[in-house]
């Protein structure tokens, strides 16, 4: 596998990024804070008031480095990608399948199977440590959902099952949090804006994940905007959202729980704004970003390819597997399933 490329996160307000030879140079005021060689980077993620020279942007585009701008609190604003690579045959096949209800349903079902299986594993891991009737009950409901997916189903039914599984899973998600602080109670998923600390943390991690998955799709020549499970909407990276589903429980949800349970993030690091939204303070955000980067370095065996790789390469692998499936090398799309 190719080396895992890093993502450079810039969170210090008023930073200025410029091209310096083959490097990204980070300036703060008159101080050069550091230089990173471009060929070690897969993406730049800029939080808030960070500026970039046009020459750096051109250099990023040329080197396939995705740049994402987020608000200081991590809400996505915009992204810049280089020219999509030249695999027009692959993209045409992607559009053909996306236009076909049955073909879409079959890919969507594979992705949903991956997601539900991984949700169930996350619940069962906690249930093994601390047995709970609620967790077992939810895991059983997830098994029921998986059983129904043994047959080919229409796309809207697949979407319905995905929604049902999500309810069962998030219905007991609070049980995964061992921290007794009332600030970390979870009563259900909410977003835009997140109204409590756990949702704030989940939304933030999902933003990081979608940036990475999107980059992985682009580097394979797939169009991140045309999905199978998620309906296309202008500006929505539907395929990135599709491919992200199997990784939400494994990469984002588990990390959120770990950060809370180990006390790496603290209740006082989350602030309520006047609108009721909850935001992280800078120190908490940095803590999360560091943990995210470390998580991506961990080694894992890919269940389908049976190869060991860095966790951060998994979605690159899945994007390739999806591409090879669309080009006719495989009889189905094999989602990533935790073993």
């Amino acid at each position: 596998m190719k080396p895992l490329l890093n993502t450079l996160f810039v969170t210090t307000q008023e930073s200025y990024l410029a091209k310096d030879g083959e490097c990204v140079a980070v300036h703060q005021g008159d101080v050069l804070k550091g230089k990173v060689p471009i060929h070690t980077l897969g993406g730049l993620v800029l939080f808030g008031q960070i500026s970039c020279s046009p020459f750096l942007l051109g250099h990023c585009a040329k080197n396939g480095v995705t740049v994402s701008w987020l608000t200081q609190n991590g809400r996505f604003l915009a992204a810049m990608h280089g020219p999509v690579s030249g695999n027009v045959l692959l993209r045409r096949e992607q559009y053909r399948r996306a236009d076909n209800e049955d073909a879409s349903a079959s890919i969507a079902a594979s992705m949903v199977i991956g997601k539900i299986a991984n949700c169930r594993t996350v619940l069962l891991r906690t249930a093994r440590e601390r047995p709970s009737r609620e967790l077992d009950g939810a895991a059983d409901r997830l098994v029921q959902c998986l059983r129904r997916l043994r047959e080919p189903l229409p796309l809207n039914v697949v979407r319905g099952i995905e929604g049902e599984a999500g309810q069962a899973y998030f219905g007991v998600f609070d049980k995964l949090i061992r921290n007794a602080d009332p600030a970390f109670r979870f009563a259900g998923r909410n977003r835009r804006p997140p109204l409590d600390a756990v949702n704030c943390l989940l939304s933030f991690l999902y933003t990081l994940l979608v940036h990475d998955v999107r980059g992985a799709l682009e580097s394979c020549g797939l169009d991140p905007a045309v999905g199978f499970l998620h309906r296309d909407r202008p500006g929505r990276p539907s395929l990135a959202l599709d491919l992200m589903e199997e990784f939400r429980p494994y990469l984002a949800d588990r990390l959120a729980c770990t950060l809370i349970n180990r006390g790496q993030v603290k209740a006082k690091g989350f602030k309520h704004t006047e609108s009721g939204a909850v935001i992280m303070d800078d120190a908490t955000r940095k803590e999360v970003l560091t943990a995210w980067q470390e998580r991506k370095q961990e080694t894992v065996e890919h269940p389908f390819l049976q190869e060991k790789m860095a966790t951060g390469l998994l979605y690159h692998c899945q994007a390739r597997l999806l591409a090879r499936y669309l080009r006719g090398d495989l009889d189905a799309y094999p989602p990533f399933v935790i073993r």
């Binding site: 596998m1 190719k2 396939g64 690579s85 030249g86 695999n87 027009v88 045959l89 692959l90 594979s110 199977i113 991956g114 299986a117 169930r120 997830l142 098994v143 998986l146 059983r147 997916l149 043994r150 394979c220 020549g221 269940p303 389908f304 390819l305 390739r320 597997l321 090879r324 499936y325 080009r327 006719g328 090398d329 495989l330 009889d331 189905a332 799309y333 094999p334 989602p335 399933v337």
Partner: protein, 213 residues
Amino acid sequence: MHHHPPTDPIPISALQHYLYCPRQCALIHLEQLWTENVYTAEGRQLHEKAHDAATESRGDRKIVTGLLLHSLRFGLTGQADVVEFHRRDGNWQPYPVEYKRGRPKSHAADRIQLCAQALCLEEMLHVAIPEGALFYGKTRRRQVVALDEALREETRRTVEAVHDLMRQGKTPPPPALEIANAICPACSLQDECLPLVPRKSAARYLQSVLEGA
């Protein structure tokens, strides 16, 4: 020559890719997969080559580097490392020389590439080219290659096979396991190709996930 509508001209380098592995050729030229290694490796070569054609004269020998080549008849395009022109009876006889970094190989890929260059030159200059040479960096030896009918036939067949591949627009499966074991480790497209994947069944894998639940 063409029994089918011709496709766009193919780069002469595609012949070598095809002879190494038809799937690799399809990934590069059909699917246009951009990969760091292939791109940088070939980019470097192109960079070395992509100077404007330059001519150097030594008495009865002219040496032209970086000459752009094309053949309408065979649908080929490319660039020659070196074409020497030898003066014979008042005529300049073209003599293609292809430079290779490695050592001489047992297979015909290098000779076929040289022959394809000669086919272009013959069409461009309206002359017959009976001979060329391969120069190998490792051995520092020049190997004379007779551009005989057998080699021409093999070259024409390869050119046609690559055009067919482009026309069909379908990437062939990876080679059989024993061939794959020999050629895949040295291929820079392994990550994109996933040569072992078509031998696996994702449907069976999904089945095991569903039954495991």
